[in-house]
């Protein structure tokens, strides 16, 4: 992809993520998150990972954000403005975060990554399907099965946690 596309997308993502963490109205934060997810999806498309981008749209943007909006509506009054955060908290968090970011970015920029030009990325649906269910080297059938069990456990768990307590 060209640099332009990358910079537009990344700018989009960063702006909206900053807005997510600093907005004072709660529904707006959820919507800003949705835009961040759309930006990420764009990055995936630009890198030829089509299937992953589709999954991201469906599960993340379509499922998770919807759940979050439902729960926001269940638990808070949409017109309320959230309180401002204490200055002390902002200062220290900002300090920690900036130093951390500086350390990480310096390390990344100083490291020389190897250039690989001979192999080609193959991300067609056929390959993804074969790899997902293959039990040879490079296959991912075991995590696949485990994730399904995890999802089952999560469904049951959430139902039990969130149901109303029996009052008889």
């Amino acid at each position: 992809m060209s640099e332009t596309v990358f910079y537009i997308l990344s700018g989009f993502i960063l702006v909206f993520s900053i807005l997510t963490v600093t907005s004072r109205k709660i529904l707006r934060t959820a919507v800003y998150l949705l835009f961040v997810l759309l930006g990420t999806c764009g990055i995936y498309f630009a890198m030829d990972f089509n299937f992953l981008a589709a999954v991201q749209l469906t599960v993340y943007a379509g499922g998770i954000v919807v759940i979050i909006i439902f729960s926001i509506m269940l638990t808070s009054d949409l017109q309320d403005k959230l309180e401002a955060v204490q200055f002390r908290k902002i200062f220290f968090s900002l300090l920690a975060v900036l130093i951390g970011a500086a350390v990480c970015i310096t390390t990344i920029l100083n490291h020389s990554f190897p250039q690989i030009t001979d192999k080609v990325l193959d991300s067609s649906m056929r390959t993804i399907g074969l790899r997902l269910l293959s039990y040879n080297e490079g296959g991912f059938v075991l995590p696949f099965e485990i994730i399904s069990i995890l999802l089952l456990a999560a469904i049951i768990g959430s139902i039990i946690i969130a149901k109303k307590a029996d009052s008889n």
Partner: protein
């Protein structure tokens, strides 16, 4: 693959997104906004995995699948977290993170 966008661009993007998410986690008061910050962190990690896959190990799809699994687990985690938040709301009638503090001295 055209020149210009190297792996380091993606990694810097992912780092910035990660630390923005951490800032949100440390600063926000409402439990749901904390959850949203956690989602930011998870997304940044996904971008990182995918970038590694494309630039360093193009022959297999490990990063791609891992990102998919992260998405699945994130969905799981959000559902459980929302269940907890709802039952907390029933008890305390508010969901500030400062009120969830009974495991203390």
């Amino acid at each position: 693959m055209e020149t210009g966008v190297s792996i380091q661009h993606f990694m810097v993007l992912s780092t910035l997104m990660f630390f923005i998410g951490v800032y949100g986690f440390l600063t926000r008061k409402n439990l749901i906004t904390i959850l949203l910050s956690v989602e930011l962190i998870l997304n940044s990690v996904n971008i990182n995995f995918v970038a590694f896959n494309k630039f360093l190990y193009p022959e297999n799809l490990g990063g791609h699948f891992f990102a998919m699994f992260v998405i699945a687990v994130a969905a799981t985690e959000v559902s459980v977290a929302i269940a907890i938040i709802i039952s907390l709301y029933r008890k305390l009638k508010m969901i500030d993170v400062e009120n969830v503090n009974e495991m203390k001295y």
